[in-house]
Symmetry: C2
């Protein structure tokens, strides 16, 4: 059936959200225009304001509306550690783990030559300048454990070597609380080759 | 970690969407502010415009930006049939089935006294006025097959009787293409008691 143009346009626009197909978009649109009207109004203003104000942190490329994000601006963080991640969501995940007190550098992607994503797009130059400042003693490579993520980590380790900064890669292995029986072979091989001596 | 205020506000606002929890909202926000910026811009304008323009059809209460929705305004539809559904999504679903050429009446909910939803909120008065016009010969009750949907259907069948209009309920039974073995008991009982003589 032909829905009214503005309704059809809204359903189409909602498909811009990740993981939202035609059926979900329709459900969202009907909800927003019925019982969800107050929420829809604040979504319009919140998204409008964020689109205008939110940009990247000058130092770490995290999304923020300030010049420097709250982490880079904080005096509480250990500036000798720089953790490189692929996305802002990864920053949130590492922060929530509670095990890290250093700073971050957000690549906003991974090396993917076929998609036109090279070192330039990932801010390799900014990272090199940052390492050149001399305060960073260790570059922690926390890119994803995918082919692209590994390639990106390899590239960045060479960049770190050029800058005379030690690079490290986060450990891959059996998840904490995981049962060996259900862990895939690749992870298990990693866990074995990365074993550490006790005592 | 503390995200910048406008970012946190956006993540919060996205939770107004049905079925979107904190993690999905965060993923959506980061996506909209990075590679999804053009889509985000059109979402802002589409949702803004829809909130201002889209209201209910004067006759059937379907969402539309005109006085009458495209179905009510059409001369091609059979005005002697009126199908009562709970939501605009149900109109779309029935239309897509292709098996119906009559008109609709959208309740925008079902009877739910505890939530303050009575006949008034479901447009019972408007429906009664519509039936009073005399063109509708059959009221098809296509509310959901839930306790509330059945109660609503029962209420509407009495309303139809008062107006001297024949009421019918859509058939419940085994889904087409469904295997008996996997159909739940309630549905199977319905399918048996609603059996029709052949030939």
């Amino acid at each position: 059936m032909k829905l009214s143009p503005k309704l059809a346009f809204l359903i189409d626009a909602l498909r811009a959200l990740p993981g939202v197909g035609p059926k979900t978009a329709q459900r969202m649109a009907f909800h927003l225009l019925q019982e969800g009207r107050p929420g829809a109004q604040s979504l319009v203003s919140a998204l409008g304001a964020a689109l205008v104000c939110v940009k990247r942190c000058r130092r770490c490329r995290m999304l923020t509306e300030e010049e420097l994000c709250s982490l880079c601006a904080s005096a509480q963080r250990d500036a000798t550690l720089l953790c490189v991640v692929e996305s802002p969501a990864d920053v949130v995940a590492v922060e929530q783990s509670g095990g890290y007190r250093g700073l971050y550098f957000v690549l906003m992607g991974h090396l993917s030559p076929l998609d036109g994503v090279g070192p330039e797009q990932l801010g390799a130059r900014e990272l090199e300048a940052l390492l050149g400042e001399g305060s960073v003693k260790e570059l922690i490579l926390a890119t994803n454990s995918t082919v692209e993520g590994e390639a990106t980590a390899h590239f960045l380790s060479e960049l770190a070597a050029r800058c005379g900064v030690r690079a490290s890669r986060i450990a891959h292995g059996v998840p904490v609380g995981g049962e060996l029986e259900y862990v895939d072979g690749g992870t298990l091989a990693h866990a074995l080759s990365g074993r550490q001596l006790l005592g």
